[in-house]
């Protein structure tokens, strides 16, 4: 009995972090709240499988990832069937390249960018730039790079082809790179 109370208490102590994680991915506080709620319920139900297997937060985060993906899939079902597919606007690279495939605005040097990782301001800019991407690009990018899911897993969960995935990630990176250049690396921070 005491053990359960302890668990409930420590779950509570991780709630804020889980909320920030979910809001980052879902961009919507009420959806994020649902995901975190479901995570805590699942954690309590599966507590036997935890038993110090790993850090509590790591375990909770791995449950949360699945809940986030579930929510996104449910939402995608409400959208037109091809909402996760690429529209025409995504197929063209007009914004970045000439007809001959040359950079319109060739990427300039960022110097040694890793120092920025310690800056709070950098993360605010990063988050803003992620939010500028079309929602499905941001989500796929996040599943791949933040949630560290394999390409196979992402394709299966979202029911998209590998080549579709490559295009989405490519376009997400073009967009993020360009935004970070404008908002961070060509300012005094960079």
């Amino acid at each position: 009995m005491g053990g359960d109370e302890d668990l409930a208490k420590s779950l509570e102590s991780h709630r804020k972090y889980l909320m920030r994680y979910a809001v980052f991915q879902l961009r919507d506080p009420s959806l994020a709240e649902d995901a975190v709620q479901d995570t805590i319920i699942a954690a309590l139900a599966q507590r036997a499988s935890f038993e110090g297997r790993s850090q509590l937060r790591t375990w909770l985060t791995s449950i949360l990832k699945h809940k986030i993906v579930d929510i996104v899939r449910k939402r995608a079902r409400g959208l037109p069937a091809d909402a996760m597919q690429l529209g025409d606007e995504d197929g063209s690279s007009d914004a970045w390249f000439t007809e001959q495939g040359r950079w319109i605005d060739p990427p300039a040097d960022w110097g040694l960018p890793d120092a920025a990782l310690d800056s709070k301001q950098f993360w605010l800019v990063y988050r803003k730039c992620c939010q500028r991407m079309p929602e499905r690009h941001a989500l796929v990018f996040s599943m791949r790079e933040v949630m560290d899911m394999s390409t196979d897993e992402i394709c299966k969960k979202l029911d998209i082809s590998t080549s579709n995935l490559h295009v989405i990630l490519y376009r997400a990176r073009l967009s993020l790179r360009s935004c970070m250049t404008k908002k961070w690396f060509s300012t005094e921070h960079g």
Partner: protein, 67 residues
């Protein structure tokens, strides 16, 4: 012969794909050749690698928000 020279668009696409899966030998050497010759694309390749590194640190950054 033209096919053996990648455009910047093709090269940057491959640099991105290389973050998902190992490239074939031909792609790898043609990309390497392009990156050697092209400052813009080699900056792009380095920058998306950095952004990948950064993105993996998002959970860590979210923890620090607790401050």
């Amino acid at each position: 012969m033209g096919k053996l020279m990648y455009s910047c668009e093709q090269a940057s696409k491959l640099s991105s794909r290389a973050l998902e899966e190992p490239l074939g030998r031909l792609d790898r050497s043609l990309l390497g050749f392009h990156l050697m010759m092209c400052r813009g694309c080699s900056n792009f390749a380095r920058q998306i690698q950095f952004l990948s590194r950064a993105s993996h640190k998002v959970p860590e950054a979210l923890e620090k928000d607790e401050g």
